[in-house]
């Protein structure tokens, strides 16, 4: 009965196995993470000191744009889909994803989308240079010719995400083991279920907005061209109607991962499970009615400003509930601090700091000073790097022994954590200062006034980059060998994934387990 995978390259090309596809997603996203990181290092190298020394402004803009696009669509989103692929079937006691062939397809179109997008860097006129938010008309009338390739690539990425989301929803609703009621599902499954709905709701909006751009560029329409009766602000409304839920797409699964790890290492059940579920759902709902807080300076009527300010401030409530629940889970536990726990604790602290600056940004009159400065850059990196990157790293360390059957090197894991933690704070904390002091985003050069903190940021960025190479080394070394892991791996962790042997067999739960 038990048969292993096929041999050679076709194993990966034709596979419908959720574990294989999960691994491919994770490797792909790590490759994109390194590439996006190289783009970031080009930016930080240019900003090491005032003056233009390494790249021209034109190329600098391509770097900021590609860094954002690659990190959002290439690194963070596929990494979460990879973790979902690996873990959701095992967590709900299913043999595989509900739609395995579509699963293969949704992965394999991604590398092509990114090859196309990255190839624009080598085209005449350069790649996308209008920021990852690609505001019209800079991205339409004034865009380089390669913008058409960018639009097509975004369409493919969107299709991939939508297919992945459908698959996850179908799996969760149809493939749960007997007794696995919705309110017994691990939080990672819950947060992904909600994320999948967000994806299905907003990826078509993104597809819509890039299609409108395509029409403006090639077919003579004027959706966003004021001279033709169109409206550049319409672009921003449509984009952020996608864009704001998008940032929650990048954080909700992270909540799930951390909610799995903290109880394990606190040796105490997650505090307030049901309130965590409701808080996630509330955040998802609120994410649809706050989009214009990215646009406080476009000249909305004051009623609009007030509505979006109040709605945005409200997000602090369910997010606060989550943080309080994690802290209370730790309280009176019996804690140990293995690498996944270190990353998770750093997640809670740094994500909360990012949340604080988010609360400040929500205050519309103050946002007139913060908007489009490095303060915003600091804010979203504080929520995204500890939020998405740290949680993914925590998840990788936490489940890696389950995936490959070997324990990773704990000393190296902890060293990597401290390097990444220090690197992150040294890079992004000074950005709060330069932003408040008046340095705007997306510029290749600046006054000497901002020089010290920029130099510190650049040093931190290279340190952070080095830490990621260490992660790569540790993961490869663990796959190749190491102390054998037990089925449970950790000290009495909760969840069905720990009931199967380590490494998890190629096919798990061919007969569904009974959940009490």
């Amino acid at each position: 009965m038990a048969h292993g995978p096929a041999k050679g390259f076709t194993r990966w090309l034709y596979t419908t196995n959720h574990k294989d596809i999960g691994s491919m997603y994770l490797w792909f996203s790590f490759a994109m993470f390194l590439l996006g990181g190289v783009f970031a290092l080009v930016i930080r190298a240019e900003l090491f000191e005032p003056g233009l020394q390494i790249v021209e402004p034109e190329f600098f803009n391509q770097m900021t744009t590609m860094h954002g696009l690659v990190m959002v669509f290439g690194a963070v989103m596929p990494a979460f889909v990879g973790l979902a692929n690996w873990m959701i079937p095992m967590m709900v006691g299913a043999p595989d994803m509900a739609l395995p062939r579509m699963n293969n397809w949704s992965f394999w179109i991604l590398p092509f989308a990114f090859m196309m997008m990255i190839s624009t860097l080598f085209m005449d006129g350069g790649g996308p240079n209008f920021g990852w938010t690609f505001y019209a008309p800079l991205s339409t009338t004034y865009a380089p010719p390669s913008v058409t390739f960018f639009i097509f690539a975004v369409h493919i990425m969107g299709a991939s995400s939508i297919m992945g989301a459908i698959n996850i929803i179908a799996t969760i609703f149809n493939m749960r083991a007997p007794g696995m009621t919705l309110m017994k599902m691990p939080l990672f499954v819950w947060t992904w279920l909600i994320t999948a709905y967000l994806l299905i709701a907003v990826m078509p909006v993104l597809a819509g907005v890039v299609t409108m751009m395509l029409m403006d560029i090639h077919f003579g329409t004027s959706f966003f061209d004021a001279a033709g009766g169109g409206d550049p602000v319409l672009f921003q409304h449509v984009f952020w109607f996608f864009g704001h839920p998008e940032v929650y797409i990048m954080i909700l699964p992270a909540f799930g991962i951390v909610s799995a790890i903290i109880p394990t290492f606190a040796r105490k059940p997650l505090f307030g499970y049901s309130s965590m579920v409701y808080a996630t759902a509330s955040i998802a709902f609120l994410s649809f009615i706050v989009w214009a807080h990215h646009m406080f300076t476009v000249g909305m009527p004051i009623a609009g400003e007030l509505f979006f300010m109040y709605a945005t401030m409200l997000i602090a409530v369910p997010t606060g509930v989550k943080v309080f629940n994690w802290v209370t889970t730790m309280f009176r536990g019996s804690m140990t601090f293995e690498t996944p726990m270190l990353f998770s604790i750093a997640f809670v602290i740094l994500f909360t700091i990012g949340g604080f600056s988010g609360l400040m940004l929500a205050i519309a009159p103050a946002d007139f000073q913060y908007h489009d400065t490095y303060f915003v850059v600091a804010h979203f990196h504080y929520v995204l790097v500890p939020g998405a990157i740290f949680s993914i790293t925590a998840g990788v360390y936490y489940w890696l022994p389950k995936w490959c059957g070997n324990m990773y090197n704990e000393t190296m894991g902890k060293t990597q954590f401290w390097l990444a933690f220090i690197g992150l704070n040294v890079t992004f904390f000074p950005m709060h200062f330069v932003g408040l002091a008046g340095m705007q985003r997306r510029v290749p050069d600046y006054n000497q006034f901002f020089a010290d903190f920029n130099m510190i940021s650049s040093c931190g960025a290279f340190l952070f980059g080095a830490a990621q190479i260490m992660l790569l080394y540790n993961v490869i070394a663990t796959i190749r060998g190491g102390k054998k892991a037990t089925a449970e791996v950790w000290d009495n962790p909760e969840g069905l994934e720990w009931t199967v042997p380590s490494p998890a067999p190629y096919h798990t739960f061919t007969t569904p387990p009974e959940v009490k």
């Binding site: 001279a227 409530v317 804690m335 604790i345 602290i349 985003r441």
Partner: protein, 384 residues
């Protein structure tokens, strides 16, 4: 293991020391310049002062909440660790707690919302202004137009390329200086009407707490009442293409009498330029003037000797040696196929356009002997 940790701790503390000394040195620098390197300026308008107050109030709320939350967290991380022999409790639910930590933040948020709303309402009140300035964003400079005063001019970065390219020492106001600052009177309500000619820009001066997007097809309003004479510097805040980082803003706030004199002076200059349009110039006069205009407006793309670069070569160019009307068309209206060749109908006066055309048609070995007069340019612009 212990070894690694102790080594790490040592390294950490030494790097913290390094960092803090750096912080101190930049703080000292900030003191000299009179600006904070780590915080928002209080600014010089009633709104900017209120915004600063809001910002600090929010900051201290966050610090307070942070101290409580992280306090509890670090307490349990230190006390409730397995290596201390801590035994795990088993509680995992408390409706009372959940309600409590939903309601308390909600109350704090309501407390925060009141002052924010009141400031926002004031910020939006652009009525009863004393001076109206139309601000238009261009790739990559600003145009200021005093409504009803017939005074308008462009304001561009004045930092020399050599400083940007690290071939000369950077001045104090590197990238934050312009050829012609916006001049406004103090203690008067200035209304800014912000729009754009091409892509979206954003006009931001931190000391005025004014940031408004300049959007083609829109006119956004904002206002400031500066209470202290001085020079206030800002930047374009919205990514607008290649030279987004190189289109600063300088606002000079002066006492009212000084402003009136300045305005009269500008008006007189404008009249003079207008009068010159009717005058007939000699070839030599136009060549001298044309060279100056060329150095300012054309040289970046077309080269010092008209050899081209980003733009096409002027030397021997079929346009610069051919039909005058076609030459006028591309300079006045810009290129239809290549957006980098902008339209100069607003940015160059009739005299400057005539001079630069004459220069291009006679310099770099073009030697056509053609003389273009300002009146020809005016006629062309009016479609005659």
């Amino acid at each position: 293991m212990v070894n690694v940790i102790s080594r790490l701790t040592a390294w950490l503390s030494s790097s913290t020391l390094c960092l803090s000394s750096l912080l101190l040195s930049s703080y000292a620098l900030a003191q000299e310049a009179g600006r904070s390197t780590i915080n928002m300026p209080v600014g010089v308008t009633p709104i900017s002062t209120e915004v600063y107050g809001l910002h600090m109030q929010m900051f201290w709320w966050c610090v307070g909440i942070g101290v409580v939350v992280f306090g509890v967290m670090f307490y349990s991380m230190i006390v409730h660790r397995k290596s201390n022999g801590a035994k795990a409790a088993n509680f995992h639910d408390s409706t009372t707690l959940e309600i409590l930590w939903t309601v308390i933040p909600l109350v704090i948020l309501v407390v925060m919302a009141f002052p924010a709303t009141s400031t926002l309402i004031k910020l939006y009140d652009t009525s009863e202004s004393d001076v109206d300035v139309v601000i238009t964003g261009y790739q990559w400079y600003w145009k200021y137009e005093y409504l009803g005063e017939e005074v308008s001019f462009f304001s561009r970065l004045s930092t020399p390329q050599e400083q940007i390219r690290n071939q000369a020492t950077k001045g104090e106001h590197y990238l934050r200086e312009v050829d012609e600052p916006l001049v406004i009177p103090v203690n008067k309500k200035i209304r800014f009407l912000v729009t754009s000619n091409d892509v979206i820009h954003a006009w931001w001066v931190p000391d005025l707490a004014v940031k408004r997007d300049a959007i083609p097809g829109y006119v956004n309003e904002s206002w400031a009442k500066v209470n202290k004479p001085g020079v206030y510097r800002g930047v374009c805040a919205e990514l607008c293409g290649k030279d987004h980082g190189f289109m600063p803003i300088v606002v000079k706030a002066v006492p009212e009498e000084e402003y009136t004199v300045w305005l009269a002076d500008r008006r007189e200059q404008a009249e003079k330029i207008k009068a010159l349009t009717g005058k007939t110039f000699t070839l030599d006069e136009l060549m001298v003037q044309g060279k100056q205009v060329y150095t300012k407006a054309c040289v970046a793309c077309h080269g010092v000797n008209g050899e081209g670069g980003v733009g096409k070569a002027i030397a021997g160019s079929p346009i610069a040696t051919g039909d005058i009307a076609a030459h006028l068309d591309i300079v006045v209206n810009g290129s239809k196929v290549n957006l980098a060749m902008a339209a100069y109908k607003d940015t160059l006066s009739e005299v400057d356009t005539a001079a630069v055309l004459t220069y291009q048609r006679n310099a770099f070995g073009n030697n056509t002997g053609d003389v273009v007069q300002p009146i020809d340019v005016l006629n062309f612009k009016q479609g005659k």
